[in-house]
Symmetry: C2
Subunit: 443 residues, 2 copies
């Protein structure tokens, strides 16, 4: 028998590959080489497969799943976690968040805040995050340091900020970052026009043109509140989705975030365009934005993925918590307890996210040829017993704090719950210092 040397083998008590759907494999083994999954097979075939490695990880009481994909957030805002809660949206933005951002946001804020967010995300099993924020080059720098995968959606507004002067400046800065990271496997850079109410028709037309020419994605907050929809009708005579569709923004490369205020016409437009929906259940609830009709969207064939949104409107970045709430909310909103089941919710947080980000050939499931972005959860807690269904327990019982191992591209970034590429003490200290400054406790 030929022996084949591989970088690592991971044996796990349970493996949930996500594709094929609704599958839980017991006592299976994953072979990884050069960052990719090259095989997935029953443990008892270990000898006959002939793999040799110096790194054989044995996870006797763990479930191994694809790394989670957090499809929407503003990582640096982790520094504003709990800064202003329980407020009406406009009060929250106008009188708290925007003034704080105006005063504090700069390169260091973004780097330190993103590092804090990455520490939390990795520790709770997220291996890829999408981000929309000022100074995306700093977000990229923090992600590269951690060796975590990310999608940067460079921000575009009509108005100036510490980061840019206006729509064209934002676009040019963003495309320059895209060029800088063109050859970086772990960073994908796409357009991030903030929202229908902060970007003009003219800018949208430019974005649509560039996105088409360059074959690049667009990520946008859309139909978050009823107010946004009403205002658009007043200003443009059209609902935001209708307007964006007319401007060429909605394509199969478009990621529509929130989508909490929809009618059937909106759903049809998005469906015909083949655009993706990024559902942010906790944020929609906390800001009282409304309900995204996940079950209905899925029934009609629309791809729905999940995001946490920022820690300022959540206030954690734990995708397990988000999966639980997505499932619970999907049921009660549709009035159907079998809607959005546990496997479905796990798909939203993995393969559906990969599809939304245009990365379905690379991540989102444990299949040969895909990158080894993985997450192992210890099921030995008393709170997880008895264990009739690993996926049900993963989704419904707060598993984020039971994540023990996390890999991105075959590299172990979390080992026994500890980060391997980041200095947690330093990140913690920086967060403390920012917190004191922002709260006005130090000059």
């Amino acid at each position: 028998m030929t022996k084949k040397s591989v970088d690592s083998l991971i044996s796990a008590r349970w493996v949930v590959p996500v594709i094929p759907e609704n599958t839980v494999l017991e006592n299976h083994c994953l072979a990884i080489d050069q960052g990719n999954i090259i095989d997935l097979f029953p443990e008892n075939e270990l000898d006959s497969r002939g793999y040799q490695t110096a790194n054989h990880e044995r996870l006797d009481n763990h479930v191994l799943i694809p790394g989670l994909i957090n499809c929407h957030g503003h990582a640096a805002m982790a520094l504003l976690r709990g800064y202003a809660d329980d407020l009406a949206l406009q009060d929250w933005l106008d009188n708290h968040i925007w003034p704080a951002e105006g005063k504090w946001v700069g390169e260091q804020f973004v780097y330190d805040g993103t590092s804090l967010a990455i520490a939390e995300m990795l520790k709770s099993g997220t291996t890829c995050f999408s981000d929309m924020y000022f100074f995306p080059d700093q977000t990229a720098r923090a992600a590269q340091k951690a060796q975590m995968r990310c999608q940067l959606t460079f921000p575009i507004f009509n108005f100036p900020s510490a980061y840019g002067e206006g729509p064209l400046d934002y676009i040019h800065k963003g495309l320059a970052i895209r060029d800088d990271y063109k050859n970086q496997q772990l960073v994908n850079v796409i357009f991030g026009p903030h929202a229908p109410y902060t970007v003009s028709d003219e800018a949208f037309e430019k974005i649509a043109m560039y996105a088409n020419e360059l074959d690049v994605g667009i990520h946008i907050h859309l139909h978050e509140t009823a107010h946004e929809v009403a205002e658009s009708i007043e200003q443009y005579g059209k609902r935001p989705i209708e307007r964006l569709n007319a401007l060429g923004i909605l394509t199969s490369r478009t990621q529509c975030v929130h989508m909490a205020n929809l009618n059937q016409q909106d759903i049809d437009i998005v469906n015909n365009a083949g655009s993706h929906v990024i559902h942010c259940p906790e944020s929609n609830m906390k800001l009282a934005s409304g309900f995204c009709p996940v079950h209905e969207l899925q029934e009609q064939g629309i791809n729905v993925a999940i995001g946490t949104d920022s820690a300022a409107s959540n206030n954690d970045l734990d995708m397990f918590c988000e999966m639980k709430i997505a499932a619970l909310l999907g049921k009660v909103v549709s009035g159907n307890p079998s809607a959005v089941n546990a496997h479905n919710s796990l798909r939203m947080a993995t393969i559906n996210g990969a599809r939304a980000l245009g990365l379905e050939d690379t991540i989102g499931s444990l299949e040969s040829g895909k990158a080894a972005d993985l997450c192992a959860i210890n099921m030995g807690a008393v709170e997880a017993q008895p264990l009739y269904s690993p996926v049900s327990t993963l989704v419904y019982t707060n598993s984020g704090n039971r994540v023990e191992q996390v890999w991105v591209n075959g590299k172990m970034l979390v080992k026994d719950g500890e980060l391997t590429t980041l200095n947690i003490e330093e990140i913690y200290q920086k967060a403390l210092e920012w917190g004191q400054k922002i709260a006005g406790q130090v000059p």
Copy 2:
């Protein structure tokens, strides 16, 4: 200066006494003697107050709060956690939960399942739980072993079960248990008629009479589903709340659980009766029962407390998770992001629970003269930084797994995250064995 010897002192970085409302004290100290809180004062008055103790606990990076009160559950069903998820309510009950209960429920099931639930509840900061299940004497036995506080609501149905023959038998058995525990400080025994659709008018009249004579509480599932309401109108010509009110069941000693399908008349009846509402947000979402209008009920002056319901419809017993979802759901359902704020949610899980259970003189806040039922949460996790508002962080960021110390009646039941009165290995092993039996993996 006189020295006063006390059983223990607890110094904490932050203390949230709950009463007075919306208060966060920094660097305060709690004096405890004979199971009761006897003083709460600023740390810098430690010398001048003159307390002496051999037990001075210093919690330098912790928030100290009243122990959480889980006002509704079926603890023993922890053994059915994840046994049958994502199913329609009637299918779930008829084809899964009830057959499993019919086959397995007995004294040992209840004792072992309740012990499992107690382990999880104590570790996540719950110090008092309300329970409705068969063989409540076994529930009491498990709680007494743990030295945890509980309210037993002895079950009453029209139909027989492994535990009782019919309504009168259930009532007599329950009252006998009430007599057995009359002098036990930590156990309170009240009536638990299951629901309007499982108890006859005749039995309700008897329960109302006994409850009045004995001045004992009543705990009942009420208006959980729209189906329940429709069926009652068909059968009795009245909505369930209307019918129960006419039967004398609704008083200021009554705890109405779920209340997810209400109209204004229902709310008025409950308000006039002074009855309490036990909100179970995760269970209502998971079973797609509907929305309890928490903000509306509170605005009208009704006391709302929180319960997890059983691990079969949740699937965890973590009251921090329940507080978060209660706050998020209260906002989105009322369309008001400032509704059900973090302090409010903490009140629902503490003092409001104490009021609902008729224990407001004993527990629910950190006031002199109350029992020392406490919970300390370590705020040093990177996921909790920066820390602008301890209560916001407690409620919105999954703090259940950061509970380190828990006391009931002044006795430390959780120390550094470990149980002091229970054998966790034994409980875990029993849960594994029950799980294998119930799943049919062993004969």
